[in-house]
Each structure stands twice: as structure tokens, then as C-alpha cells.
Amino acid sequence: MLIYHYISEILFFAFIVLTFFGGILAVRSKLIIHSVLGLAVCFLGVAGLYFYLDSPFLSMMQILIYVGAICIVLVFGVMVGYTPTQIAEKHLKGKNLVLAVMSGALVFSLMTAVIFKSEFVPAAKRTGDFSMEWLGRSLLYDYCLAFELISLILLAAIVGAIILGQGGRGDN
């Protein structure tokens, strides 16, 4: 059975590579539509990582919501709002690039140091399991209020998006 462990480990690294390249494509590409593509690839990689974290349900939700909804909305935003000459990013300013690289390196080194310095202790006793049954139970019993509030937030977002999007292209 060990061979299957190694195969799954190779797949794990494939998902990591997918995530990395998707993230780099999302922030480095000149065309906005390529950025959206990179974002979709990155989210697919993270969905694969969720499988290794014992939650296939969250993996499916990641694909459904992030890749299926958010990326499509972003594509709509790019297609509707931008004229073709403005799809390409304008020149990248040098000052911003230096600032971005410096802050990114700073945050990366700080967080890596924190991860390797600290010790993570597993919980002494675990209740429940990773099954979907337990997830649904706690979603509808323990976290019922938050569940209802999320639906309220989504309703407010829908109404707000409709109001903001009112009017045609030439309508000021």
C-alpha cells in the first residue's frame, strides 16, 4: 500500500505547483483576463489541497464558489466594463514595484520565522469527526445564527449590487 502513499504525495506536490503558478500568474500577467485565469488555476490547486485536509466537501465548494462563481463574475466585470484598449495593464511604475517586493519579502520572512519558531500542539481530546454529517449538524445547530447572518449578508450584497449597477453605459 506504500506505493499509493507516494502517488498521493506526488499529486500533492502537483497541487502545490498549480497553486504557486496560478498565484504568480494572477499578480504578474499584463492582461487582466490572464490574471483571472491565474486566479482560477490557483483556486483549483487550493481545492486539491483541501482533499488532503480531509474535507472533500470544502474542496467541491471551493471549485463551485471560487472557480464557478467568483472567477465568472470577475470575467463579467472585465468584459462589461473595459474597452479593449484598456484591458492591458498600464506601465508598471518602478516605485510601486520596489515597494511591493520589499513589503512582500518582509511579510514572508516574518511569517516564516513565526511558523518555524512556534510549536503547534494538537488538541488533547477531539470531539466529532471530518464527516459531512457532523459538519451539517454543527452548521445547523451550533452555528445556526452565523448561518442565517450569512444569508442576510448575501441578500444585502445582491440588492446592493443591483442598485449600484443600475443605469446604462452612457447614463451618468
Partner: protein, 105 residues
Amino acid sequence: MFFSQTLETYLLIAVFLFVTGIYGMIQHRSFVGMLISAELVLNSAALNFMAFNKFTAPDPAVGQVFTLFIMGIAAAEVAIAISMVLAVYRRYRCDDPDDVHEMKH
């Protein structure tokens, strides 16, 4: 030892996503690009929640519930932000954040 069974691997991936998001947020010259970077940051937070949920949390449902809520809030945020970007674009005819500095046109 398998890398897929250690907590630090997932935390490092999440750090990478977070740093990419910050980098893109500063470097991008358009509203939609900044929105994409914000999504990367949100997703890194969700991945962190899932990693701690697997390896250290007492109740394995909590992290999954939290990640589901992050997804819902991210969806609402994108819907609102895209319609705001469209409204700004209609009014100013541009989408460079530096050019949009007047409240009233």
C-alpha cells in the same frame, strides 16, 4: 515522512498566497487586479483555517464551517466590488486608482 501530513507545509503555502496577494495589491494598476489580489489573501486565510482544523483543533467541524463562511463573504464582496468598479468606470471612464481621487465629478 510525508509532506502532506505536516502542518508547516500548509502554513507555508498559505504564507505564499498571502504574500502574493499583498504584492499584487500594491503593484496592480487597476481595480479588478486589486480585487483579484484581495481574493488571494482571503483564500490564504481559509487555507490556514483548514490546516489548523486538521492538525490541532478539538472539533474538526469548526474550521470547515469558518471556511464556508469565508467563501460566502468573499462571494458577496466580489459582487459588491465589481458593481462598484463598474459604477466608478461609468462615471470616470478610467480604472486607475490614482486617477479616481475626486468624490464628486
